[in-house]
């Protein structure tokens, strides 16, 4: 059990130290020139498809996933979460603090059985929290294009293979 707690603390430390990738802070949002990151729940697929929104047309969205453009038909998408920003401007400070709180459970001995899950539960809700948009709940298809890298659409003469 002790090893299990140490493992969990280490895991929580590592997880707490890393903010969600591709998501910036509210104060840095104005410098963001890429498309927002989206995670789409695709019908009939066991895995979500995620990536930077490159372009949104009437019937299709294109996500850039590890250098590859993934076109997804509108009617294939059950839901889609678009990450806008973190909820805090100082994620590093808050995440480090949160991870130290989790490690404090090691000093609680048997009390750690109680304090660790409470700490993990609370710190998990504190760190990693972000502002999202969710299609179709609070954004319509016709509005998603605003959050693409190319809201005007991919330029005709652009070689999409060169997209990074």
């Amino acid at each position: 059990m002790k090893n299990y707690i140490i493992l969990l603390c280490t895991a929580s430390f590592l997880l707490a130290c890393s903010s969600p990738k591709h998501v910036t802070t509210p104060q840095n949002l104005k410098y963001k020139v890429n498309g927002f990151y989206a995670k789409a729940d695709v019908n009939g697929s066991h895995k979500d498809v995620s990536g930077e929104i490159i372009e949104v047309s009437k019937n299709e969205i294109k996500l850039l996933q590890e250098g590859t453009l993934q076109p997804l038909q509108k009617d294939m998408i059950q839901s889609c979460v678009i990450s806008v920003s973190l909820t805090v401007n100082n994620p590093k400070k808050i995440n480090t603090w949160a991870s130290l709180v989790n490690i404090a459970s090691l000093g609680h001995g048997v009390f750690g059985i109680i304090s660790l899950p409470i700490n993990l539960g609370v710190t998990a809700s504190i760190t990693n929290s972000k502002y999202d948009l969710k299609y179709p709940d609070n954004i319509s298809w016709d509005e998603i294009y605003k959050f693409a890298r190319f809201p005007q659409g991919i330029p005709n003469d652009l070689d999409t293979k060169k997209l990074q």
Partner: protein, 533 residues
Amino acid sequence: MNLLQKNQTISALIVLLLTIAVYSCRKYYIDHGFRETYTNVNEVIHKDSTKMPFFKVHFKNGNVSLLDTWSLNNGKDTITGNGTLYDFNRNTLHTGELHLTINDIAIIETNEYSKILTKDNDKIAALSILTGANAILNVVCITNPKACFGSCPTFYVDGQTLLHNAQAEGFSSSISPSLERQDLDALQYATSSDEFLLIMKNEAFETHMINELYIQAVPKNKNDHVFQDKHGSFYQCGNLLNASLATVNNTNIASRINTIDEAEYFSLTDPNKLETKEEIILEYQGLSTNNYGLVINFRQTLLTTFLLYNGISYMGDEVGDYFSKIETNEFIKQKLSNPFKRLGKIKLSVWNEELKIWQFIEELYETGPIAKNLVIAPLNNINQTNNKIKIKIEMTKGLWRIDLLALTTIKSETEPYTIYPNTLDIVNGNAYTISDIAKDDHYYLISFPGNEFRFKFKLPELNNKDEFELFLSSKGYYLEWIRKSWLKDKNLSKLKKMLLNDDKTWNELAQEFKAMEDGMESVFWNSKFTNIQ
């Protein structure tokens, strides 16, 4: 679902909760209206620039520029401003003054980031509260590590190794060689298997000296119970009968004491007098025979742990001398038990309707705050009136946690099988063999902090019975490790007064414990698995 299964389920739920907690990210959905785009460039650039929120220009060729300031030239065909220009992969092309031709612009984007409120202050406030709570717990554990890190050899069955699931604590009051004693504990575990695994751990800063270890197995039918009394006699018993009335100072406590579960009855100490007593009054109805026993499942609060720690810390750097005296001086050895005598045992009495008096039955005592002790107190053909019986439990406030008080019919006294382990698996510890604990002799298995030993027992044939109810007998003593921080608390005068039952010293101890009681008792024992969520 028995208690062990329930604990397993709860443990699984905790793991699930942890997994969810670790991987879950709190989501806040916001309105997308903070961003607007304009394809009609002329419409935007002719607006008052001071009213335009942050300005981003997307070009027909895929480039984009961020502008800090901007203005329109006289020919109204070029935007001039300061900012950065990026290519289609968002690599920086130019930073500084920019001249953007209107005809090259595809879309102008504005962003009102003031609509996205940061939650830094909320998060910091929540973390501050959490940090404060953790710090208090850390202080409690530093000042009283035994309360946090367990005590005495702890025994586990069925692969459980979580301290909350400890089925027994061995010889908790045997704190020196001369106080070595045998301890018999109900493991509250029945099995029909032909093999039984017992895990023994040292989870405290103590050296455990185990002289003898064996289990006593009593065959029984599935619907029956087997209980032991304080003298080590075993009884085959029938169903449990719950109290129709269970009160303390007219407060109903029936829900706390009617089943073996996580709910326990306990009270807090009197801040002025640690030995202040309280009474539980129980009434049982529907009795049909005279051969009943009161089954009680109980353990101590952390009060005795607190007193033991204080006593040892008052010895300071003379702790070795004092423990030598305990071994050689009968007077001092006797005095050592004074604090525990002062607090007293759990006293059981039955109401005699004919004589109109409370008739004393017996007193129960078991040291240790972790594992519960399940015992029966036979009522010895006590007279019942109108199929009813009234029982009084008298005990020191804040010293005991009572999980079960139920009546049962005693069918017969029974004999257990005594079974010694046939194999020993050393997970962590020195190379001992089962012969070291097979007899009450001068050979010991010595267990140090962090050690873990696994004993396997071969169980005999069940014959016509369904399963064995198992009990653990352990004999030995333990030596508390003295921490450096304790040495500064040396106070021989206070130790003497404590052992000689000086009222003023005990009053001070009552107040010292009161200051810690909430932190130690409420946080730990009141925190149920089911409350974690």
